[in-house]
Amino acid sequence: MSRPPTSQPRVLIASAITALVLLVLPMAGMLQRVPWSTLLNRLGDSAVTDALRVSLIVSLWSAVLCAVLGLPLAWFLARVEMPGKHVFRAVVLLPMVLPPVVAGTALLFALGRRGLVGQWLDRWFGITLPFTTAGAVVAATFVALPFFVTTVESGLRQHGESLDEAAAAAGAGPMSTFVHVTIPSIRSAIGAGAALSWARALGEFGATVTFAGNLGGRTRTLPLATFLALENDPGSALAISVLLMAISLMVLVALRGRWVMR
């Protein structure tokens, strides 16, 4: 803090503290109920380690898919001019505000065995996504993708087109410019977007349980294990929550707010 606090508007400070308390209080409430003495035992339980494994597989695959699919989409939103693009962008952001259970139901209607596209996947290729690990990846990717796209789009807008144009003027083709000039210049935005979408995928619950179901070792991720443990083993549920919170917090702290482009 460079200036003495007296020079700050007190109303703002008080409101900021209230907001902070609102965010921190539930965490504090949870932490004081955590069974610390048995924490390691509970986390070492095979049900928890299985869920951790599924969670890591699903969230990492989802982050990779977000990057592979999200980078071209972010480029498109930042660089290609077309009428009604604000509507297009709103559609991209929709999974961020949709209740995840609704997202999961929508995925069932689209990619389920009787879904719009899913019935053909099943009939032609014998592929059914519900109740599979791949299905859990699809559900996590659906909700996490907008986090990647918005972060990288804002990175692209910051970076501007001048470097790209310079590269093009020097004779580089459009694809070569994208790979050798554009991507390196927004590395940190790509990293931040991937980390954010990964964290979102890691915490995914509603869409996953609705679309991919819940089976140990296949689709039961940490959030699903937490939810079911809450029914009759709140101690374990709290232990898993602490684990999830610690992982997410580490990622967000490591990013140092880098997704907010300065």
């Binding site: 349980v209 179901g213 699903l224 009759n232």
Partner: protein, 249 residues
């Protein structure tokens, strides 16, 4: 704009105030298992008189899974009556001191073998639940319908090969109805209310869950005892329960 915000604040303050009137002399607050929404809804709508001679008495019902209800009650939710979908959850509420009245049996609900519309998995008996090639769903053992299913399958010597353990009976029932799951064990009432096909499995008939009702207070006021009497003995309520697939004690 400022006036609009002030108006909103007044409205929300009034609404918050209204929320606290629950438990007045004329209102019976009922916490009930989700599967009773239709039966209690009929009483809530005023179609039946709760308290003979006191037409002002009304019920206000809140619905959730039984375990969630018990947790809410323990954490200080206000209610006059608790109705759970299993004996175990009612006993938890009694043991942790949130329910002082003694429970009485309202109805029972039994498991059925439910299949997707048109039975695409060609399920013909409970033994098909062990087939890994079919998409099989059960409720998670942590929730009452899953605990009951696990007990039934163990007793019948069936080693099920489920593809998913759904977090509640409704989500399992909906996925069977959507055709994403070939077969699963759900409550008879859910099969009836969602219009789901079932396969005859008489050996399941002895596996049922008990719906218990108890007053939260040991010495409840008259409207509360009147309400419990109404749902456990009134002929039209009994009729409604039977129509929805419950079995009467």
């Amino acid at each position: 704009m400022r006036r609009a915000i002030a108006g909103l604040l007044v409205i929300s303050a009034v609404a918050a105030g209204c929320g606290q009137t629950g438990g007045s002399a004329d209102q019976v607050v009922v916490m009930a298992a989700s599967s009773l929404v239709d039966v209690l809804g009929t009483i809530e709508s005023g179609a039946l008189e709760v308290s003979p001679g006191s037409p002002d008495v009304q019920i206000l019902a809140s619905y959730a899974g039984s375990s969630a209800l018990v947790a809410q009650l323990r954490d200080g939710a206000h209610a006059d009556v608790l109705i759970t979908a299993s004996r175990a959850t009612m006993e938890t509420a009694i043991d942790n001191g949130s329910v002082a009245g003694s429970p009485s049996l309202l109805a029972t609900n039994r498991l059925v073998l439910a299949v997707a519309n048109g039975n695409p998995g060609h399920v013909s008996s409970l033994a098909d639940l062990s087939d890994p090639a079919r998409v099989i769903g059960l409720c998670a053992p942590e929730v009452p319908c899953g605990a009951l299913a696990a007990r039934a399958l163990t007793a019948l010597g069936i080693d099920a090969a489920p593809d998913t353990f759904e977090p509640n009976v409704r989500s399992l029932a909906n996925k069977i109805k959507l055709g994403e799951i070939d077969a699963g064990l759900i409550y008879r009432t859910d099969a009836i209310s969602l219009g789901i096909d079932t396969i005859d499995a008489p050996e399941l008939s002895r596996f049922s869950t008990e719906y218990l009702v108890a007053s939260v207070s040991a010495d409840p006021p008259a409207p509360v005892t009147d309400f419990i009497k109404l749902i456990t003995s009134d002929p039209s309520v009994r009729q409604l329960l039977t129509t929805q697939g419950f079995t009467l004690p």
